[in-house]
């Protein structure tokens, strides 16, 4: 049992650090916490993010685990993690490539043909082209396979109609991965097909969604007779669900429990406000609560270390990773709620009017998204109970029924 790098890992870390030292500036203690920086849509930020991705690609530090022929360095998963740890220590622009490099790229590398890989992967890796994901629909969230957008074959093309939702960054993306229904007469998982769509195609309309925190990270995307060449189909017709699963596995691996603020910030707050005329940090109830948060957050982190160890030993982590998001998002919400309560009447304020610049209020409004995106708490508990613990699946009201016959609302 050893938290230290193996000699190979240490060498790799030193190499990464050397490159970063030469190309970026270290973060400073008084930099704003990374988790409250959510703005990612201004042209300046996009340009900065692209420039940094290009620099990494040129230096051989983008998409480390991908094959060298596409610009990667065929690195191991643990090397990729080490890179991430090191990069996080530096001031870098917000990353707008997470979906492309974390989900789209790996899916194409797994299921795409050689032409598709050659066409898309290098520019994705270098940041020249930006990617998004088009899976969820207004009526297909947790029940993703219940999606209703359609694709109809027409000559060498497919014609797509329907609506997608929760598409991060759609307004500035070049390509999107898309799952649509190509056959409503078979069971719901059997009638799906997976495409790559050019986001600049005629008939693609993008409308930003305002979140409860007034952020606009997500979009609705409407498809009206959008034509996609059959050459942009990934895998076989009707095999879309299997391909989507690859994407989702990569998504869950990349969503952590972040965004919740640190116990350190909470301790700072508890030192700065009073309860009963004394600093809150001396209040026994406050201490018990903070200790509970710390214990759980550290538990999530140590569980992550167990996963890293498995990676380091060359194993593939499984659905156990759901724990981090399930526990982490809930603790984050409780912690923000508690921090607001600590502020007393001033907890009713926001932004600059509130303590610590309103960071806790901001988190409290952002965190519900964490508990929903990439699998709600309920979906994660289903995954854990069925795929980790092997418990029997839910009885399915929609099993073995043609998609068009599945109930979608109360009987009228």
């Amino acid at each position: 049992m050893d938290f230290n790098d193996t000699p190979e890992e240490a060498t790799f870390r030193a190499e990464a650090r050397a490159w970063l030292d030469a190309n970026a500036e270290l973060r400073r203690p008084d930099d704003r916490p990374a988790d409250v920086l959510s703005e990612r849509t201004s042209p300046e930020i996009i340009a900065a993010s692209q420039a940094w991705q290009k620099k990494k690609a040129d230096g051989g530090w983008a998409c480390l685990t991908w094959p060298t022929e596409y610009g990667g360095r065929a690195a191991t998963s643990i090397q990729n993690v080490i890179w991430g740890q090191e990069e996080a220590r530096y001031r870098t622009p917000p990353n707008i490539f997470g979906i492309g490099t974390g989900m789209c790229g790996p899916t194409i590398l797994t299921h795409g043909n050689d032409d598709q890989k050659a066409k898309w992967i290098p520019k994705l890796l270098s940041g020249e082209e930006i990617w998004c994901q088009l899976f969820s629909e207004p009526s297909a969230g947790s029940d993703l396979a219940g999606l209703r957008s359609t694709a109809v074959r027409d000559g060498d093309d497919w014609v797509v109609n329907g609506q997608k939702i929760w598409t991060t960054g759609a307004q500035f993306c070049d390509w999107g991965i898309l799952v649509v229904r190509s056959d409503a007469n078979v069971a719901k998982h059997s009638g799906l097909t997976y495409f790559v769509v050019d986001m600049h195609s005629p008939g693609v309309e993008i409308r930003p969604i305002t979140q409860i925190n007034r952020g606009q990270g997500f979009n609705e995307v409407f498809f009206t007779d959008v034509r996609i060449p059959d050459a942009h189909r990934i895998s076989e017709v009707g095999n879309g669900w299997a391909v989507a699963i690859t994407t989702l596995m990569n998504e869950r691996a990349s969503i952590g429990g972040g965004g919740g603020g640190s116990v350190n910030d909470l301790i700072r707050l508890a030192k700065s406000v009073e309860i009963d005329g004394r600093p809150a940090i001396e209040d026994s109830a406050v201490r018990q609560q903070i200790a509970r948060f710390y214990t759980r957050i550290k538990g999530v982190k140590m569980t992550g270390n167990r996963t890293l160890s498995a990676l380091s030993q060359g194993k593939t982590p499984g659905p156990e990773a759901s724990l981090g998001k399930l526990v982490g998002a809930k603790v984050a919400q409780e912690m923000a709620s508690f921090a607001i309560e600590l502020q007393g009447a001033a907890g009713a304020l926001d932004r600059d009017a509130a303590a610590q610049g309103g960071d806790w209020q901001g988190r409290y409004l952002a965190i519900p998204g964490l508990r929903i995106a990439g699998g709600t708490d309920e979906i994660l508990r289903n995954i854990i109970s069925e795929r980790v613990l092997g418990l029997p699946p839910e009885s399915r009201a929609d099993k073995g029924i043609a998609f068009k016959d599945i109930p979608t609302g109360p009987p009228s």
């Binding site: 969604i209 809150a280 919400q333 007393g344 304020l349 009017a353 609302g409």
Partner: protein, 370 residues
Amino acid sequence: MNFDFSDDQKLLQKTARDYLAEHSPLTVCREVLETDQPYAVELWKGAAEMGWQGAVIPEEFGGAGFGHLELAMIAEEVGRALAPIPFSSSVYFATEAILKAGSDAQKKKYLPALASGEAIGTFALAEKPGQSDVENVEARVSGGKLCGTKVPVPDGDVATFAVVAAQGDGGLSLYLVDLDTEGVSRESITSFDPSRSMARVEFSDASAELLGKPGEGAALVSHVLDRAAVLMAFEQLGAAQACFDDTIAFTQGRYAFGRPVASFQAIKHRLADMWCELELARSNAYYGAWALSNEEDELTVAACIARIQASEAFDDLAVEMVQMHGGVGYTWEYDCHLFYRRAKLLAAVLGTPAVWKHKLIDRIADAGED
């Protein structure tokens, strides 16, 4: 044993509910939230015409002369509608303070204007973040002039006067201060729930008139907070009930995997637990209303448990409302965040549950009450 509201009281509630359904659908709350408007002026006037602001003000001072049970019913409806008006500040706080401690002259000056809605009162206690408001009062009155800063003052940007806690010659005391007067400067500050406004109010030698006796401040603050806590519990209860009803309706109408979301046992059981929290809040609020309307010695204990359960239940239910709505619950377009914000605001404005828990133990630890 008749631990329930009377038919007349329920009728009054029904009238209030109908009025608000027509004049304060959630779009009214949203309009205040999304614009610079600090509150819904027309609604405020309409409420005054219904006699709500003056519900417990005696008829001799221009009020409706109802009792607190009637006001509790109105508060529940104000809560249900998330009505964006300075009702709590003016009615639960300022009016109660003057009713309790005001001289006859003060009552004559303020109560009729409060009843008609012409005056908006508020209560200015907090000065800095934390749960030690009474301990932290540094505002000071000397020679009838008030100096100091109060923040946040709920509705302090629109109130015509404030009941201010400040240090005076005899120790902590309450003062009446007109806010449109020399020596007062105020600014709106960002509220966590912008459908309810918050202000920073600075006093530099502003004229302040003693309310109650010198040095009686701590006792009066406690007295006013107890009363406000019960009324606020009804407001929270109404809002929590609306939040729950909407969640039930949504999960029944929303289908996933070929069946209503509300048919999944994990969701059903959580809804059952939420219902329990709500019913406990209702029961404790009723207890508070009984104690308040009968001026019972148990008022403080009743106010504590009403406040604690109402705050926690509304907070819980609002969190679950967002979660159970899934993705759409996280959009500005859906109303979930109106409840999510309001729950935190109402839990903050008159002492958090933690503060009331301490007060409760102070009361029961020696009483041998069970």
